[in-house]
Every structure is written in structure tokens, then in C-alpha cells.
Symmetry: C2
Subunit: 149 residues, 2 copies
């Protein structure tokens, strides 16, 4: 583990991304927990679009979040169990579920916003804004490299 090869392995991009992803997830949950809020980062990633859209279908959430429809099904299950959202069948197309925030869901959304801001600040501390921009740009390029193949 002490030679050059191992260091190179250590710095592998996939591993770095995975580690950072896990760390951000953990930090977000911790910050939320300290504020007395019970929500995971993935639940938040789905709750956000539900809030902005108003009556998103699960398909839309799936596309928007780059998550499998299965994942959306299960996250919406969890949110529904917590009484944060409800599934309402679409009037015109019976295949579609419209996901609607409950009052508690709206409340939680507003409570979590500052947690998100705090987490973002902790994550990007001491990193130049220009590097953050390049960082996001690379992420976006990787997504388009892997998206439709």
C-alpha cells in the first residue's frame, strides 16, 4: 500500500467520486439530524423536484434525478409512509401517479433548505469558485458521456 502503484490506485477517479458521494450523503444526514430533521439526501433529491413541479409523475422524477424508476418507486414509498407526499392517479392517464406534497412535506422542504445550504458551504470550503465551476462542468460532461449508450 506504500508504493507508487498503490497511490495511483488510491487516487482512482471512480473511487474518489464514490467516497465523496458517501461523505456528502453522511454529512447532509448528520446536519439534518442535528437540526431535528429526519431525511436522507436521496429523499431530499426527490422531494425537491416534487416541490418545484407541483404534481410530478414518477417518470418525470426518474428522468430528472437520473435514478431508476425502481428507486423512485421506493423513495416515494418512504416519503408516503412518512406522510410527506401522496400519490394521486392522473385523471387523463390512469397509468400515471401524480406525486403531491402534503402540508408536512412542504414544511419539511422549507426546513431542509438551510441544511442544504450549510452542507454545500461545508463541502466547498476553501475551494476556488472557478475550480468548482470546472468541477461541475466535468460532472456534466461525464453524464453526457455515459448517458445514452
Amino acid at each position: 500500500m506504500e508504493n507508487k502503484n498503490s497511490l495511483q490506485f488510491h487516487m482512482n477517479m471512480g473511487k474518489l467520486i464514490g467516497s465523496v458521494h458517501n461523505m456528502i450523503t453522511r454529512r447532509f444526514v448528520q446536519n439534518a439530524h442535528e437540526a431535528g430533521l429526519d431525511i436522507s439526501l436521496d429523499q431530499w433529491m426527490v422531494l425537491g423536484p416534487i416541490h418545484y413541479h407541483g404534481d410530478a409523475s414518477q417518470k418525470l422524477l426518474s428522468d430528472f434525478c437520473f435514478k431508476d424508476k425502481t428507486s423512485i418507486t421506493r423513495i416515494v414509498n418512504t416519503l408516503e409512509k412518512k406522510n410527506l407526499v401522496v400519490r394521486v392517479p392522473d385523471q387523463l392517464d390512469q397509468r400515471i401517479n401524480r406525486i403531491i406534497l402534503t402540508r408536512a412535506g412542504k414544511q419539511l422542504f422549507n426546513d431542509v433548505l438551510p441544511i442544504m445550504t450549510k452542507t454545500k458551504k461545508e463541502v466547498s470550503r476553501n475551494i476556488p469558485e472557478t475550480d468548482i465551476e470546472i468541477f461541475k462542468d466535468v460532472l456534466t460532461r461525464i453524464i453526457s458521456n455515459l448517458e445514452n449508450v
Copy 2:
């Protein structure tokens, strides 16, 4: 979903990193599968250090992979079930498991190396090397921002 706020949400860093992480994981597994190999990215991330170190403890793997010791326990379980590694109790400290590659494990390691290279190439296609360097640097900085708090 069509206004400025939603776009901003869409471009959220945590979400981007999560999406990219999932996409790379999926692509790696697909590439391995096409080559007739059955291994996940996380299994590979643990198998690599086992190979380089020779007789790594689970604690070392945990530190090295930025994964919880629980995760290591379970990934090693999986690798053991597949007869890729064995747990050997340390002679001096009975608390420690030494994780050793089997012949099949060494074989798989060598078979997977080109898959890793291929995946890396697909991921970083059309992205300038200088941007990749900044990208990795930002990832490393985020890790140190979140590591010991």
C-alpha cells in the same frame, strides 16, 4: 421544472455527484458483464487494495476505501462466498483478519484491469486532461473538508 430555480436545483452539486457515481458504477458492471466477468465496482474497489497489500486487515481496507467497517465486512463476505478471498486470523493479534486473494481472486484481478481502463476512458472522453486534474483536486479537497469533523 422549467424555471430558473428548478434548473439551479437540477445542477446541484450533490445531485450531480450522486448521478455520476451511479452511472460509473453501472457502466463498470456492464463492461465487466460484457467481458463475462461478474464483479461490482465496490467489490473491485476492495479487491484492488487486497491485491496490492497482500494481507490487508479489514481495518486497513476500511481506511483505504473510505468505507465503513460494516461495508467492508459485507463486501469481504461476498468476495469470500465467490471464493475470491479468504480470511486468515492474524497470528499475533487475534482480533485481526488478514484478507488473502485466492488463485481465482488473482485471476479475476488481472482480468478486470482492462475493464477498468476501458471504463475510465469512456468516462473521461472529450474532457481536457487539465480539467480532469482540477476535477480530481476538487474531489480530494472535498474529502479533506469532510473527513475529520
